[in-house]
Structures are given as structure tokens and as C-alpha cells.
Assembly symmetry: D2
Homo-oligomer: 342 residues x 4
């Protein structure tokens, strides 16, 4: 059985494993004061052309989200997120556990809209309500959609006009940058937000995420936030040796492109069988709509999640995820079965 459950079913890109071996006995200082961390930070800053950015590294996406969001807010301040946002729904109340309310707004194709932000801002005007101070979005989103450059620009503009910080959860930001419609790169991402994360775990790293703080006003004492939340790693090299590999050349983007390409192959095959999608397939997560009977048969040979009900009761939306490690044979087997069962 091949897995389309997620993009963290395998270990790490071989280049990363090789780097672990190559650097293994080089003695380094702890807690991020090592040369790999410095080099990873330098490479990322170079890639986004922001020499004054600050870069930190943590082990999980939820950790990146909770540290970043809580670092932005005074105790009475809140963060705006869409209902389907990972930090809102799939992190067990991690943000609230740091004391902050999430102002939940409806997503449009998985995305935050300027209107939704303005609605929250204009209805939260006195001390009887929380004070919105940040906006959380994911690029790409939970449903595999991607904010275009103009959309990011507009969100950023609305945030700046309303004194809100914009944080982009980039657990799958590589896949967004390499998506077929993308009209932006990491430099644009950095331009249109205050801070963002760069996911490693879902894009070929063994483990780890980078946090990039573009806004200089948010950089001071960030290591205190990391330390207090258990996110400052004694052996930071465990993450940063990987990020050096991912960013010293183009591996980060190549991994994402490969995953996207595999998803496109799947999508084309699925379309050829006559099926629709919840949203246009553009990244490494695609959401086709299949008859329930077909799903049942497919699940015997292929690993994937049923995502949600469809508008017609005998169909459901499924989620298929590809990765840097997805094999052609998995795609072919899936499509062959789909044809057979359709």
C-alpha cells in the first residue's frame, strides 16, 4: 500500500542524511549558538533578500505557531484566523493555552479576506471585547489553495492600516511558492508580512521549521519566548544542519516542486476519470470528490483520508497528499485502480 495520507510519511531527503553524517563529529556550542544555525540563518536571509531579518528554528509547526502568535500579543490582544485555520482548529487550543482568543472568521476557499479582517476590527472597539492585534494565515492553506501576490499585498495593507501584525504559517510555503499559479517568491512573502515560518517537516526535512521575523520591532527577546515554551533546542544543529542543506542550493524548492508535480499527475489522471475537485489542484494537497463506493474500494490499496462530506450525500471529498518522496509507481497504481473502480 502506498500512502497519500500526508507529506511526513517518510524520513528525510538523502542529502540531509548525508549532511548529518558529514557534520556529525564537528563540535559546536548549544542552544542555537552553533555554526550551522548561523549558516542556515544567513542562507535564508539571503534567499529572501532581508539582511535584517531574524531567523530561529524549532521542531514543530504547532510550536512555531504558538510561539509566534503569543509573542505578538499583550494579554488582552487577540489573533484573527479563518475557521479552517490550523492554529484555530487542529492544534488543541494551543493559542488559547497561551491566554489569547482567536477571532474566528469564515474562510473563502480556505483563505482570509480583507473584509473579514475589517469586520473584526470595526466590531472590536472597546475594552469589553478583546483587542485584535494579529492576523494568522497559512500559505498554502489547509485546503490546498494559495494566496496570490495581490491577495497577500492587500491583506498586508489592511493589516498595516489597522495596526495588526500579519503572521504567515508556512508549514507548506515551499509548495505555495512552487504552485503552478504562483506569481510570488519567498521575497514577496517576506515583504507582505511581519513574520512567517518555513516548514521543513513536510518538505524533505527529518524535523524542523524556521521562523523568520522580518519586522525588526518584533525581534528583540524572541529567544525568551522560545525558551519559555520549550522550543529552544539544546542541539539546534539537529534542525539547522538540515536547513543549511535545504537552502544552500535550491533543494527546498526542488522538493516542493517535485511534490507538486506528483500531485498534478494525480490530478490530471483523476480529471481524466471525470471527477471534480473541492478546489483547483495547485499544490501537493488535492481534494477530489469521489463516490463513496469508489472511496471504499480505493482505501483497500491506497492510504488517504476522507476529508469531508460532499454536497451530494453519496459522494465525499478526499485528501490526497504527495511529497518529495512520492514514487511514480504509487501514482500509477492509484490511477489504475481509480479507472478500474469508476
Amino acid at each position: 500500500m502506498y500512502f497519500f495520507f500526508d507529506d511526513y510519511s517518510e524520513g528525510a531527503h538523502l542529502q540531509i542524511l548525508e549532511a548529518f553524517s558529514r557534520t556529525n563529529f564537528q563540535q559546536e556550542r548549544g542552544y542555537g549558538m552553533d555554526s550551522f544555525t548561523q549558516e542556515a540563518e544567513r542562507l535564508i536571509k539571503e534567499k529572501i533578500k532581508k539582511p535584517k531579518a531574524a531567523v530561529h528554528f524549532v521542531s514543530s509547526g504547532t510550536h512555531a505557531n504558538l510561539v509566534c502568535i503569543s509573542s505578538l500579543l499583550k494579554s488582552y490582544e487577540s489573533v484573527v484566523a479563518v475557521d479552517s485555520g490550523h492554529a484555530n482548529i487542529h492544534e488543541a487550543g494551543a493559542v488559547e493555552a497561551t491566554g489569547h482568543k482567536i477571532n474566528v472568521v469564515p474562510a473563502v476557499a480556505g483563505k482570509m479576506t480583507p473584509q473579514a479582517i475589517l469586520e473584526i476590527v470595526t466590531t472590536h472597539t472597546d475594552e469589553h471585547m478583546v483587542k485584535p492585534k494579529a492576523v494568522y494565515i497559512s500559505q498554502s492553506t489547509e485546503v490546498g489553495t494559495v494566496y496570490l501576490k495581490s491577495e497577500l499585498q492587500k491583506l498586508h495593507e489592511v493589516c498595516q492600516q489597522n495596526e495588526l501584525y500579519l503572521f504567515i504559517d508556512g508549514a507548506r510555503i515551499g509548495h505555495a511558492v512552487m504552485s503552478k499559479n504562483a506569481d510570488f517568491d519567498l521575497f514577496d512573502i517576506a515583504n507582505y508580512c511581519d513574520l512567517f515560518s518555513i516548514g521543513g517537516t513536510k518538505n524533505g526535512a527529518l524535523i524542523g521549521e524556521a521562523i523568520v521575523i522580518v519586522n525588526p520591532g518584533l525581534q528583540e527577546n524572541f529567544r525568551y519566548h522560545l525558551r519559555q515554551r520549550g522550543a529552544l533546542l539544546a542541539k539546534a544543529r539537529a534542525v539547522t544542519v538540515q536547513f543549511v542543506e535545504l537552502f544552500k542550493g535550491n533543494l527546498y524548492f526542488e522538493n516542493a516542486k517535485y511534490a507538486n508535480d506528483m500531485a498534478q499527475k494525480l490530478a490530471v489522471g483523476i480529471q481524466e476519470c471525470g471527477y471534480q475537485f473541492l478546489s483547483e489542484p495547485v499544490v501537493n494537497q488535492i481534494f477530489p470528490i469521489f463516490p463513496n463506493g469508489v472511496i471504499e474500494k480505493l482505501q483497500k490499496n491506497h492510504g488517504f483520508y476522507v476529508w469531508s462530506k460532499s454536497s451530494t450525500p453519496d459522494h465525499s471529498v478526499v485528501r490526497l497528499v504527495t511529497s518529495w518522496a512520492t514514487q511514480d509507481v504509487a501514482i500509477e497504481a492509484f490511477l489504475a485502480d481509480l479507472k478500474k473502480f469508476s
Copy 2:
């Protein structure tokens, strides 16, 4: 220059790197539902002879501490710790950030005493004060001392009599078990506490700590705590492939013994030069007392921290840490210089 700064200056034991390579393309489910995690849990439970224990894996020691401690406490309950305790002093208020007070008591040779626990219990008797509900200790301690079996037993007894949970921070538990005076093994540890951690980061793993919940009453819904604090790893195998290697044979204990042996070599050499120690050297952290002038000269060629002032103003306590990766040549070079400068 060789480092005696800490035990996380290198990468990982080679057997672990090999295991990463060997298992890399095996597809597994996410969030700890993989076969490596199951196997690591099984091996640890077998090693401690506690088939009903629950085992979880996180990426850092502070994370293990804050998740474990906060999982034990109702909002108004507190944890007792010694003043020099890592969770009290060196984790940037991580426990308090989860809403809980630490009742701080004086350490005796780095260790908690039954008397100190009783003092807190007897003085905290009504709702104007927090309600002590847990005791936090480290084995081995921050100053390289080790609780003997009878000491653990007595602490556990006092905790049970006073309805307190006992949590053992085992960041360096392997070094404790393999210390030259140790009259206990991991089975005893498990017997004399409610939950404990097993540190990987400081004993040959690339990254990661195990949390062992011995008390069945504390096992329910623990994954919620992990998830909410950002500690549930999507790619859990990144940690658990390592713990399989460490515990499928005796690697975990061999690593610790090697580190302890290296520290003993250092200690013997230092004693031969006529120096005293803050406490008897028994694990991989030793605390010799040197003249300040000697320290200054040593620091030019050898990496280590000055730990604290000594009782005589022209001497200081330094901390020397060895690890699974410490090389003989480093020991020899250090001792040669020490002789030369003494």
C-alpha cells in the same frame, strides 16, 4: 580546541544515523502512530518491566518538563522544586507560563530532601496559598550528584503519604544509572515515581526525550497535553527511530557509561594534580575547583564553563562535561595542560 561545555556538542551516535538511513523510505503514519514509536515504547516498557506504563516522545527536555508538570496540576496546584532545579531556574519560567507556582526549597548537594517537602506541605494548608501537588527532581542533578535508591524510595514514600506526584527529570538519567555509586536501575526509577523522562539529546541521540508515565491514573488524555503545547511531532519517527536504537540493546547505557568513564579519567587526573571538587565526581558532569589563574590559561585551549564562585576568592568552580563522543585525546590534552599550569 576540545569541548567540555556540555554533552550535546556533537551530532548522534553512528548507530542512530545508520538507523535513519535504513528506515528512511519506510512509509509510516504521522503523529506517533508509526511502528517506530510503538517499538520504542515497547522496548522502554520492557526495560523498566512496566507493561502498563505509557511512553511518549518529545523533542526537548524543557518541553518534557513543562508538559509533564502542567499535566499533573489543577490550576491552583503547585510543584515543589529545589532552588537549583532546571525547571525552576533555567527554563525561563516555563512552568509558571502554564499558570503554576513552583514552591522553591533549598537543595542539599543539588538534591531534594524529604524534610523540605514536608515543610512545604505543612505550611500550605488552606486556600490562601497554592496547594502543593507534585514534586520535581532531577536524576542526576544539576550539580552532578545522584539520588541513591534509598533516597528515591524515601522521597516517593513522603510524596505518597502526602498525595503528591513525583516527577523525575531524566535528561541525564542514563548517567545516573551508570554512575559508579548507583545502587538502582531504570526499574527502580520507575518504581519510585509517578512519571519520569529519559533524555536522548544528552546521551547520543540527535534529538529527543522519552516521557514514561508509570502511574496509570495519569495516562489518560496525555496526548492532548502534548498537542496543546506543540510537543506532538508530526514526524515522530525523527525521535523514535533513535530510541529504538538506544533501547533495542544496551546502547543507551553504554553511551552513558562511556561518558561517565571519560569523566572519571578527567577526575582522577585532576585529583592527582591536587584539586578538590564541589561534589564527588560520579557522573559525566564534574565540578573541580581551580585557581582563577589556572582557569584562565586552560580556557585558551579547552572549552568549558566557569560554574560558580568558590569559597576562596581566588578560586572558582568549573564544570566539565563529557559525553558518548568525548575523545581520549581531549582528556589527555586537558590533563597535560592542567599539570603544566599547576
Copy 3:
């Protein structure tokens, strides 16, 4: 100008002021260990026929809400509330500041529905999401509606079947009990929930709310929660002398009935002028819909809030609140002006 802004525009019922004078120099112990607190607790337990209930007293409704809700929840547990719920929207994130997420569901006429609870329960089934453990409702609601006995019974049933605690915010519970459609009394309230509050501030007290814990399993150590949140009053008599007066006879219910009757007078007059209401006027908060021009004129002589937009753009919903202290002359003046401006 007369105020219909709220039901806390005046001081206290004169019987309460008299009680302060009468009892002023009686020496009592602090922190709720006084005879007035004991007597107030006894009277309330008698009124609700629950000899095993526990009763506590605090100074504000938000304080009652945040202490009660946080006392029910483990760190990863959440409370379900309707979008318009006071604790969700009008308490500046007080619940989240204690670390807990509110699962927000749509209100139907200001009320929680069993369906909404079930929807949350059935979609929150693993540790990636918070674990719903309590339901928060207000009786009467923010929009002046009242849960009937059968509705409370059904909500309670759904809560019990799903191991959820039911907490009723009774800031205006007197007005609910005395509403014209009410088919329940405080005994029924107590039967159909785990804990509830009884608002004094909005029903003739100078200040103060009672918290009634019906469920014996929730009573232990509640004073710790109060103490920790700053809610345990050194001079508890400041609140409990008042509650003795409110509950030794029927003053609490008489105050509420008087306020409701005044609201009915207003409502009848408004209806006679041909206006509609957002919801049927049954308690001391009524929500008529007026043309914007009429509102503007009324506001010159009468104090009230515009509540929300109406479905027609040239009309708005206003909120008129009466109290134990509302004078006939205020009602008459308002209705006279309304007639004149209509």
C-alpha cells in the same frame, strides 16, 4: 433624562442599605467565614431545595463566569458557548486568559441548541482538537429571551449524555424566573445544571453575585479557584449581607418582577405605536425596532443603546432595560415621546 441603558444605573434597594446600617458594627471573621455568608448560603440552598449545594459569593458577573468556567476544565478542555454569549464576546477574552478555548456555535434567538452541542461533540474527537467539557448558557439571554423548562431539561440531558458540565450564567436569572412565560423556578434551574450564578448587581444589590454549585463533584477546593483569581473577598459581608436581604423573603423575585412589569408597560406602549421587536419582550430587556429618525429624537430625552442594525437599512434595533428602580414617570415620558415622534 431617564436611563434605559441598563439595570445597574442606581445604587441598591433600600432594604439592602438598611441592612448595611443594621449590621455594620457586628464583628465577623474575614474571607467568607462570617455569619452573613453562612446565612446567605443557607437561604439560597433552602430556596432551591438543594441542601448539598455549595454557594460562594463574588463581586462581578465576569468574575463569576471566569472562575466557574475555568474551574470545570483541564488545560486542554473547552467550553461551548453561543456567538452572542456574554462570556464569548463581551468579557475581553476572560475565559481564554485562563487558557481555554470557547467553541463558538450560532445562537437561535440568543439560545444554545442541543444540535449545536452535538455538532461540537461529534466533530471534536481526538487530541488534535480541544476536548469540549462544558456548556455555557445565559438565563435570561443577551437578547432578552428565556429558556423554557423543557429546553433546559433537554440541554441538560444532552450534556449529561456527553459528559459535559452545564453552567448557567444567571446575571439576570431573577428576571428569567419571573418572566411572563416562565414555566420553571430556581429549583428547576438547579435541577438542570451543574452550577449556576445568581446575579445581584442587576437586580437590586449594590454589588455581588452568588455562585451555586449543585454538582457535589465540583465543590471541592472551589475556594482555591476564587482565591487565585482575586475573587475571594476579605470583607465578604459586603456582598452577603445583601444576599441575606434578597433571599430571606422574596425581595430577589419581587425586584425582578417589578423590572419585568416595567418592561411590559414599555412593550405594550411600543406595540400600540405599531412597532415590532427583535424577540418577544418577556424580561427586563426589550429590543424594539425603530426608524432611525425616531431613535435620534428619542435619544435626546432618553438614555438607551442602539443594539444592532435591522433588516431594513432605515431601522435599527434598540435595547431598553428596566430595573427594580425604574420609575413610572420614565416609562410614561418615553412612550409619550415615542407617540409624538412616530
Copy 4:
């Protein structure tokens, strides 16, 4: 039996009860937007000669402490307090429940020292520890001592040099100002701190404390903090009608002086019987040291607490508290019995 348990055994000064009656039916806006609150703020600002201060009112001292302290701190910042400090030991972990560590230092005669602050500052220099940002002291202290003007000045200076906020818990600040050795007034208090509280509950008010924010940089959005912690009172007049009475003339200081004078009478009589004190009696809390046998007999007729053990095993320290309402007859009866039993 007469009570020397505390200074909140009675209701309120009669002038306050009269003010409640006089103002009872004056209609006012809620949540502190009423004319009494404005007038109370104006009077206090006038008294301290700080026209740019901001003044808020809450119902309890613990509430004032937790709101003030948490308002000063970022999540990783801490407050320094002496071991015997009320916020440290007697508020059930209220500060920690807002997420912040208290750096505990030893008290000298109940007081914080500049040396203790410097010791904390110099040992907390990196992100592995919390970042001290505020200092909490009480004036008068838990053991009835008073900071002299020069002591306040020095503490303030050390705080400013180290970028620490200084918060003075003034639950008994009136008694401090009127103590026999006092060389300062409220103006001096305001000069030597960033914010402080003025206790009403323990000095003749029925209930309530004022919070005075002298430092303009700390004033913004303070009402959000109050709201979020349940401290913003809907019927603020319940507190502020009282503070108008206390500060429109000298009632606040007269009450304190009366209480202090009563304590002096007690102290003189006790000294005449040949007993010592834990500290010089200067405010309304005095701590004589009696033989245990004498204490036992006294407790049959007089209400007071045994405070702590004495240095000799057959003696104990007791706490005797007087108030604005203490009667001469109570003093006389106590001293007569003391003579008899001595």
C-alpha cells in the same frame, strides 16, 4: 469577645453608608463611566498632586495585585518580591496563574532591599532565565513595618537604573502614611513608584481598592486588563461613592490614624507588661511575643491569630490588628487580661 483578627471585621465608616443612601437613586452610567468614579479619580489625583495619573477601582486587594502585576509584564518577564510578600505567599498563586514567575528574595524586617533587587538583576542575564521587569513591595508590610522615604527613594532609583517597574501594594498604605515614624505622604509614594494601590477594604470602606498609575507609559489600555480579569465593575459606584467620601476630606487618613493610635495604646500596655515585639509597633498591625500559656488564656476572651513561632520554644509571636472601628473597651479588656495572666 472583641476581635483583633484583622481590620475588616466590621462594615463601613458611617459616612460611607450615609453617602450610599444620599446618592442611591442618582442614575449613572455603568463600568466606571459614572460621575462618582470621575470625582474619586479627581480627588485622589489632587491628593497626590499628579494630574496626569490614571486611577481605577477594583473590589479586592488580590485583584488589584494580579491585574497590576500582569499588566506590567511580557510573557517571559517576572516580578521580584520578598518571601513574605502577600502576592507571593498568600494569594494562592494568583500571579503565576497569569503566567509569570515571582523571583523570591529574603525580606529584611518584611522589606525589600536594593541589594536583593541587584542580586536578581545580575544573575538573570540571558534567555535561559526569566527577565525581571518589576518589583512588588507592600507599604506597610506584612509584618507591620514601614519603608521610610529614603528607602522608597533608593528602591525606586535601583528600579529605574535597571529598567524595572516598581509597584507598591497599598492595602494598608493609609496606616503607613500615618505611622508614627512616617517621613512621607501619598505624594512621596506617588513619586517613588510607577503604580500603587490604595486600600479601602482595610481602612473603613465597605469594599474596594484604588489603583493609581503614575507612569503615563503604563496607562494605555489598562481597562482591557481590568475587563479581562473580571475586575471592571458594572456598578463601579459601589466602590467609588466610598472613595469620594474617603478622599473629599481627610477621612482616609483619619481612619488610619485612629487605627494606628489604637494599636499604640495596645503596644504601650503590652510593653508595660514587659513583653517584646517582633518589630517596632508603628502601624495598626503589631506583633508582640507572648508565652504560649498566656496566649492560650487570652484567646478565650479575645480574637487574634498566632502568627509564628518565636526564637524561644515556649513563646510565640501573635498578630493584633486594630482598625477605624476598634473600640477603647476592647483595648482595655485585652490589657486587663494580659496583666492578669502575666
